[in-house]
């Protein structure tokens, strides 16, 4: 090989290495900046102001869990915000629900989380306890985020350890969707919207209904894998204020409570009022529009109330909404599920992020576009404005949420580690269904797993 060629090859290789080194140095420099203290943030804020003054656009990153329809609504709202803030460019991140939390975990771990991030109340404790979020109290006090004429019970769902970290953009709760046409065809009547029914009464009702249904149609969709309903069950059978952890910091739900949760599903499967676990697993993988309720495979289906409109609009039948049954002692356990906006602690545009949140939640035009997509808004002003033009299904969902909010026990965010327990609950339920373990054994293993997770997070 000629001397010139060798030299050329060596120079090319060195250039390759140098460019790689320069890129990694650039990234580590950026990471180092993100770990600086408030003085550095102050410097960055000043830089942002200079950027605005110079006419360049400030980028605001907003992350939410999306789907094709919801993304379009968000883009329209973002366009409205940018029209009022011509110096701002919104950069969006909207993975689907299944990937969203993995994305957020890695983004926060690497210090690259979006400025404005959407959270769900199951994860409030996980993130608020780790110091990765900006407290929002100062923005409320200064008036950047206006909470006048808001339902304060819903505002308080965003408080963790006495600081406000999340502002709700929609609340929902577990509810019972009923295919009333199928019910009528079976010759049964549905109880009234505001009427309560206990779990025992509900179980008897379902068994009676099953005897009147055609083959391959079930009175109810098995809820052993319902991660939202299990917490309602737990709250119905727990001491108020100690649903997740007891006074000693241990997992609060008793073995008896968890055993009874597995028992009810098991009984209904044995009665063939619920389908087999394989059947349920299969139908659980389908999209809402093709699910068991819309496909007339089941009559009763537990789901979050904010999805009522989607189910009704995709069904040929009339779908009714009813409350989750009470415990046999008459106790409600409804858990408000809040989807909320938070600001990441590493954001370089915190004030702008707060302005965006205020705009999103209080701007009437923006909320008309969003139209209760993720639940009932916390602002009573917005609720009144939407009620004038809302879809009838949304009005029903709003009425339902207002009804439930009155009777629901006080919202308490889950302690860190508790959220991860629900996979163990589902896994245990499957083993119970297959007879591998008894409900009592399942309950004990969940309590052990939960205490390990809580202890791990407390270290």
């Amino acid at each position: 090989m000629g001397k010139k060629r060798k030299l050329t090859a060596v120079i090319l290789v060195l250039c390759m290495i140098l460019s790689g080194v320069l890129i990694s140095c650039g990234n580590s420099g950026k990471n180092q900046q993100q770990t600086d203290n408030a003085d550095a943030n102050q410097t960055k804020a000043q830089t942002s102001e200079e950027t605005i003054a110079s006419g360049e656009k400030t980028k605001l990153r907003v992350a939410w869990w999306g789907n094709s329809e919801r993304d379009q609504l968000m883009y329209a709202i973002n366009d409205l915000f940018m029209a009022e803030h011509p110096n701002v460019e919104i950069v969006t991140e909207s993975p689907g629900w299944d990937d969203y939390w993995v994305n957020q975990a890695t983004a926060f771990a690497s210090g690259s989380a979006a400025d404005v991030v959407q959270f769900q109340s199951n994860q409030f404790g996980e993130y608020a306890s780790k110091g990765v979020l900006e407290p929002l109290d100062q923005y409320v006090e200064s008036g950047i985020i206006d909470l006048d004429n808001w339902n304060m019970d819903l505002v308080n769902t965003g408080i963790y350890n006495d600081s406000l970290y999340f502002i709700t953009c929609g609340v929902t709760a577990q509810s019972l969707f009923v295919n009333e046409d199928l019910l009528t065809e079976a010759g049964m009547e549905l109880w009234d919207f505001e009427e309560d029914i206990t779990w025992s009464e509900f179980e008897d009702y379902l068994n009676e209904l099953q005897s009147k249904l055609p083959q391959d149609t079930y009175a109810g969709f098995d809820f052993y894998a319902n991660n939202d309903l299990v917490w309602v069950w737990i709250r119905q059978n727990s001491e108020d204020g100690y649903e997740w952890v007891d006074g000693d910091g241990n997992f609060a739900p008793s073995a008896e409570t968890l055993t009874s949760w597995f028992d009810i599903s098991q009984r209904l499967r044995e009665e063939r009022t619920f389908a087999s676990v394989e059947w349920t697993t299969e139908w659980n993988t389908k999209a809402w529009q093709e699910g068991a309720l819309v496909s007339r495979k089941v009559v009763f289906f537990f789901e979050n109330a904010n999805k009522y409109k989607i189910y009704q609009n995709n069904s040929q039948d009339n779908i009714e909404l009813r409350k989750v049954p009470l415990s046999d002692e008459g106790k409600a356990g409804d858990l408000i599920i809040s989807s909320a906006w938070g600001i990441s602690e590493t954001s370089e545009n915190k004030e702008l992020a707060a302005e965006y949140i205020n705009f999103f939640l209080n701007n009437e035009e923006a909320q008309k576009i969003y139209n209760m997509e993720i639940g009932v808004p916390g602002s009573l002003t917005i609720q009144e404005a939407l009620a004038k033009t809302a879809d009838p299904s949304d009005i029903i969902a709003m009425d339902y949420m207002n009804m439930v909010a009155e009777s629901a026990p006080r919202f308490i965010p889950k302690a860190p580690g508790v959220w991860a327990v629900q996979d163990s609950i589902k896994s245990a339920a499957e083993n119970v269904a297959y007879g591998n373990i008894t409900p009592q054994q399942a309950a004990e293993s969940i309590i052990q797993t939960a205490n390990d997770l809580i202890a791990e997070n407390a270290e």
């Binding site: 001397k3 060798k6 030299l7 090859a9 060596v10 290789v13 060195l14 390759m16 290495i17 790689g20 080194v21 990694s24 299944d98 939390w101 993995v102 975990a105 890695t106 926060f108 771990a109 996980e126 993130y127 780790k130 110091g131 990765v132 676990v277 394989e278 059947w279 697993t281 299969e282 659980n284 993988t285 991860a420 996979d423 589902k426 896994s427 499957e430 083993n431 297959y434 591998n436 052990q448 390990d452 997770l453 791990e456 997070n457 270290e459």
Partner: protein, 295 residues
């Protein structure tokens, strides 16, 4: 000057690989080894907990046992079946059949498509409760069988993925085909003169001569099978299926690390996985001295 340049040129050409290996493989591996002794949850600083993660894995984690069982079952059934199928096809395609190049391309297509997201979704449509397979079974009178949800039944779920892997026989088939072509014609002719049947030629001559390629394919497919993730994730909805029937080890690591934010625990699982794969690979090479013929 020439000699000096020659001496250093080799190192310089190796440098990009070394840099990549250190920055993207070795250093992250060392960091993950450290994390495996901590309770790192992605959002807080890692806190040293000693062997706690490893002790928990080996003494009280049923999911670990389930994931290992599913993965080993998958690897040691699908890989031999895949290699057997690709070997047989390679021998068939080695003959002078009409349209041979078209056939080779057609058999290679599944390997191109691989275990992608689209194929995994397609597999759900085939093996689901109302999938094509059950419709076909029902049409030919096997009504009871047609009631089985092949993917949701814990006894059959992993077999749907084994079939998916075996279906991707094209890649090892091409390598076997190349190996067959390397066998000298004179050896085959000599055996024919000595009265060896076609079957005996394959078993006693061709396969022993191809044994280094067999080992290569076996090791590569074993490693690839241990790493399977996309198919398990899509088909099980990311949670490992009913009763962990599709909880492949890599999926379990992913769920623990990113789903439950237990990165320390997931790191410990990963290192155990490295050891297990290393043991199996070493065993394969150890046994090769007896069964592999290099001359």
């Amino acid at each position: 000057m020439n000699r000096k340049l020659n001496r250093y040129a080799g190192y310089v050409f190796l440098l990009p690989w070394f840099v990549g290996f250190f920055l993207l493989t070795l250093i992250p591996m060392i960091i993950s080894l450290y994390y495996s002794f901590t309770n790192f949850n992605l959002l807080s600083e890692p806190k040293f907990v000693g062997l706690k993660n490893y002790i928990q894995i080996f003494t009280s984690d049923q999911h670990f046992i389930n994931a290992l069982t599913v993965t080993i079952k998958y690897v040691f059934i699908s890989v031999p079946l895949q290699l057997l199928g690709s070997l047989i096809l390679a021998f068939i395609l080695n003959k002078g059949l009409p349209g041979l190049s078209l056939l080779r391309a057609a058999f290679y297509i599944p390997s191109l498509l691989g275990g992608s997201v689209a194929i995994s979704i397609l597999w759900r449509q085939i093996f689901g409760l109302e999938g094509i397979l059950n419709k076909a079974l029902s049409a030919i009178g096997f009504v009871d069988l047609a009631q089985i949800s092949w993917m949701s039944n814990p006894d059959t779920a992993v077999w749907t993925l084994i079939i998916l892997r075996v279906w991707q026989f094209g890649s090892p088939m091409i390598i076997f085909l190349a190996a067959i072509k390397q066998i000298p014609d004179s050896v085959i002719e000599a055996s024919a003169i000595d009265g060896a049947s076609r079957f005996k030629q394959i078993i006693k001559i061709m396969i022993p001569l191809m044994s280094p390629i067999l080992l290569f394919n076996f090791v590569m497919q074993i490693i690839s099978a241990f790493k399977v993730f996309t198919e398990a994730y899509i088909i099980s909805g990311g949670k490992g299926g009913i009763m962990d029937s599709l909880l492949f080890y890599t999926l379990y690591i992913y769920n623990e690390g990113f789903g439950n934010m237990r990165m320390g625990y997931a790191s410990a699982l990963s290192w155990i996985f490295v050891l297990i794969v290393g043991i199996f690979t070493s065993l394969a090479f150890k046994l090769s001295s007896r069964y592999i013929h290099y001359n």
